[in-house]
Symmetry: C2
Subunit: 242 residues, 2 copies
Amino acid sequence: MVQEFSESQRIVYYDTEITGCVGIGKLVDMMMLISEDHSASVGVTNEKVQSYGLGWVVTQHIVDITRLPKANEIVKITTKAENYNPFFCYRNFWVYDENGKELAKMHSVFVLMDQTKRKITRMQPELIEPFEAEYTKKIERLPLPKGPTVPDKKQEYKVRFMDIDANQHVNNVHYFDWMLDSLGADFLKTHTLKHMNIQYKQEIYYGQTAISEAQVDGVNTYHKIRVDDNPNCVAECLWTNN
Amino acid sequence: MVQEFSESQRIVYYDTEITGCVGIGKLVDMMMLISEDHSASVGVTNEKVQSYGLGWVVTQHIVDITRLPKANEIVKITTKAENYNPFFCYRNFWVYDENGKELAKMHSVFVLMDQTKRKITRMQPELIEPFEAEYTKKIERLPLPKGPTVPDKKQEYKVRFMDIDANQHVNNVHYFDWMLDSLGADFLKTHTLKHMNIQYKQEIYYGQTAISEAQVDGVNTYHKIRVDDNPNCVAECLWTNN
């Protein structure tokens, strides 16, 4: 039986956008918080992971959205570390409204990163077994997001001091903001996000400038964040017209 | 007896900065949330205020910080609408740690803004009396922040779609981020904020570019946010050396 972990959280006005709904980056942050709390609850605290010279890093999120919750709604977030192989751990998340209706779900890929070598390492039994996830030799063949081929939008965002969180990384929310803001208000006010597949390739540091390129093709948008010629983050979104 | 209202809130990692502590802008957001909850608890909801064609607007915050709380601390925030005169309402806030030790306090000035004329209006008895604040004819003579005279720092920040919250304004946190980020990491990593006096003069809208100018004079910093030649927001900070 794979262990499940849940927590309730209130959506507050400062986590919402002009639409009155929480932003997708903030919702992903909330899910990541639940995964940290889950880890701590089974004794795999950040401090313990760090004592091995390692850190959990997300390489991909695939998010499906039924409805983004509004300010003052209480949502329940549930997560499971579903299964793992020698290099990857797959985690699922579900967000529910107060009536138990599913608002969003997310499938995420976690790896263990060697903090000095900055390289992916093998799963450590002491850090993965407490989740009671299923071991499998199979590596999931997840769809990879396509970036823009001929970008029609481009914006630059200089990384701010406040963009780095207590985990010493550019917080998740900023990648989402850089990607979606580049689409502009005309698009964002007339479309609703239904699906996002985002892949993280390379970290971004304080002082660097993130170049956000996007391409709009009807209700599909393609995104790339880069500092130089190599992509740091790629994503693909599916929207509906309002 | 002036009514008091309190709520507890957890500091989460994505509300913190590289220091591990919550950012000042986020802490002010948390205090403002408590003031909204206080208002709702006495029947003065945002919807009720809007039904009068009005909205509460903050013109000034004066914050004193003993210690900014870290990720996973539970803080208690208390507020009181202390007193009011025909045009201004003065509200106090206190932030306490789990042992009841004061971490920060804030004194804030609220006005009622006519939403169509964009002008300050007189206090409405139905919107102010439920707080049981003391009526006084006296207008407080609060110290006004001095902006930079000869700015030595300047950064530009284009307002993003996500900077506008459900209240349809650039969220508080961004003014603080624009002001403090312009000081740079060298200053921010070696200094701790103890006092901030911030005055809001004019709204900033989506698509505008905020120009953040600052001047450093030892442990005093002076800030101005402007879009054109007129200041939109002015602040003065006092820091200690780490």
